[in-house]
Assembly symmetry: C2
Homo-oligomer: 350 residues x 2
DNA sequence: CTGTTAGCGCTTTCAC
DNA sequence: GTGAAAGCGCTAACAG
């Protein structure tokens, strides 16, 4: 029924081994023979059987990419970058590696499931993006899984996630969330703000904690009291920013600035302020994090911390496929850049 | 070295066949035996070898999703929806199917490459999202490839792309781009606009053509001349909207409205108008297409055509995995909804 | 440079 | 309800 490598061999009048060698291009074959084989492949519309090939060779051309939410450009950009870098020479079968993008929804269970599935597929590499869950049990389980993946021969790269002690072989490209958060709030304090609301991400995530810690560090350094009432937690979505902003306004009418966990949340904050008839930054300044493409189009344009998501993803992809050397110690920190734009300004006078 | 099914069988004191049956859960096995096997699996940290399993069973649990640009929420939303629906009962090995998201960058070559790769992996299903290239040669090549995939047993679903004559077995969920474009321009004409610029997408794509045709249909119906100078083509990005808007303003100073090929392009148009000191919609109205999440946060909020991307993707995922019946004739049209918001209004008086 | 020969680890009839 | 055995289609030594 379906045409196999043996059929191609028969038609090209060579042995199956030769066909395999031509297809994988990793072994010297006479030009004439190669021609004949290639023609036979073409004539028969032959397509290599991936599972059979992976089984025999004990590796696959699949590269897993774990993301929290593929519909969020934060992850989309990284995934796209990883993918653009994993193709090319180095793999089997013409270097055509395939990206398997897995949507975990931020759930540790799904994260584990996908890691198992990738191990099952004998993935050549796995890139895990985004912050980690801080729950000790889950963290340990995921660490163990990552280590098993490494042991099984998959390369593991964390992109935007702190290193896991449990998986020492995994390379980590960590975002400097703390430093970025620090600089952002430093900027606001420099403008004269003192009553600053903070809309944090979901609890129990490293990204959330680090950004928040940076914020608090800045407050402390400036001698500004850290009023716990001014910090709210919520998911990384617009709604959370909207609701939290209204709540902050209720709790502290003298609020002059809102720092959001990321740009999407900041957009929600802006919407809430507009709906309340408050001007940005005249009445309240707003700042985000990440510098996603839409942030420049907010009105006024969003002050934020630019994370080089594409560059980080690309690097992760290269490391995952052995096209770039690992950073020393297997860990590299990726820094963000403060982008001061129209959404922040001096606080209003009373 | 690595633990195999035979190891599990030995430890559970059963035959490999039995272990396989337990793992696949598609065959009666005594409860006690199952328990023993499951324990052995756990004890040994056994993970099924996917390639071996796929080879023996002649199918895989991989579902391919082709997108033009994973960093674009338009595709991210559909991909996420497809993925959320492909897991669950029906597949082998506990129903855990894996999504393979492939970024084609809109290039027909890459599209073909990925389809081949998916065929090589013996993908259980393939969902192709986004508009098709209109070039006859490429269209035919892709049609042939899709048909071969169908023949090889993969289910093929087109999501947001017109049906391909070449692959009659493929199910198509088509977006009503023409109708949406028509309603959008009808709306502007209803407001009194006559000099309307149109920033179309890249040439040679069905999505571009259909949206544009809808626009022209509306002009014709209202007896408004279709000035070819007022239609510009460009990629689906912000930059294109920005540049094209400046060009339109140059070509036609009396311009009172700009219709963009999608929301991202519309955002670029808004930016250009702002930079020129023109107010929206006071001086110029702007409309987009798709209703991506950020569109509501544009200032003023963007008038656009909402496409139910998530719903369409979810349906595609269900059909791809046999959890929902195909639409009659294998074709269904997905309609958009006109969302009138602040970015469109009556034209200014001269 | 090319052919021969064993498997890779699993599924699946076919018996029992 | 369970086991034995025969491949699935390919790759990788090993010869030549």
């Amino acid at each position: 029924m379906t045409v196999t490598l043996a059929d191609v061999a028969a038609r090209a009048q060579v042995s199956p081994a030769t066909v395999s060698r031509v297809l994988n291009g990793n072994y010297p074959v006479a030009a004439a023979t190669r021609e004949r084989v290639l023609r036979a492949v073409d004539d028969l519309d032959y397509v290599l059987n991936g599972p059979a090939s992976s089984l025999a060779a004990a590796t696959s051309d699949l590269v897993g990419i774990l993301v929290n939410d593929i519909a969020d450009p934060f992850f989309g950009i990284m995934a796209s970058a990883v993918q653009s870098e994993i193709t090319g020479p180095g793999g089997r079968a013409g270097g055509e590696r395939m990206a398997v993008v897995c949507n975990t929804g931020g759930s540790p269970e799904r994260e584990l499931t996908y890691l198992t599935l990738l191990q099952r597929q004998r993935a050549a590499a796995v890139v895990v993006t985004g912050g980690a869950i801080e729950d000790a049990t889950h963290a340990a389980a995921i660490g163990r899984k990552l280590r098993r993946l490494c042991d099984a021969g998959s390369r593991v790269v964390l992109c935007g996630r702190p290193p896991t002690g449990a998986a020492p072989d995994a390379v980590a490209l960590t975002f400097d969330n703390r430093g970025g958060g620090r600089r952002l709030t430093d900027h606001l304090i420099g403008l004269g703000h003192r009553r600053i609301g903070y809309i944090a991400g979901p609890t129990e995530r490293t990204t959330t904690r680090h950004r928040l810690e940076g914020h608090q560090e800045a407050l402390a350094a400036a001698g500004v009291a850290n009023d716990p009432l001014l910090t709210l937690h919520g998911p990384y979505d617009r709604r959370s920013g909207y609701d939290a902003t209204l709540e902050l306004l209720r709790r502290e009418p003298r609020l002059t600035a809102v720092v959001a966990a990321n740009d999407t949340v900041a957009l929600g904050a802006c919407a809430a302020l507009r709906d309340r008839g408050l001007s940005i930054p005249g009445d309240v300044s707003v700042a985000g994090f990440d510098d996603l493409p839409f942030s420049i189009d907010a009105v006024p344009a969003l002050t934020t911390v630019r994370l080089p998501l594409y560059e980080a993803g690309a690097r992760a992809g290269r490391i995952a496929t052995g096209r770039e050397e690992e950073p020393p110690g297997g860990i590299a920190t990726v820094h963000g850049e403060l982008m001061v734009r129209g959404s922040t300004g001096a606080p209003r006078r009373h």
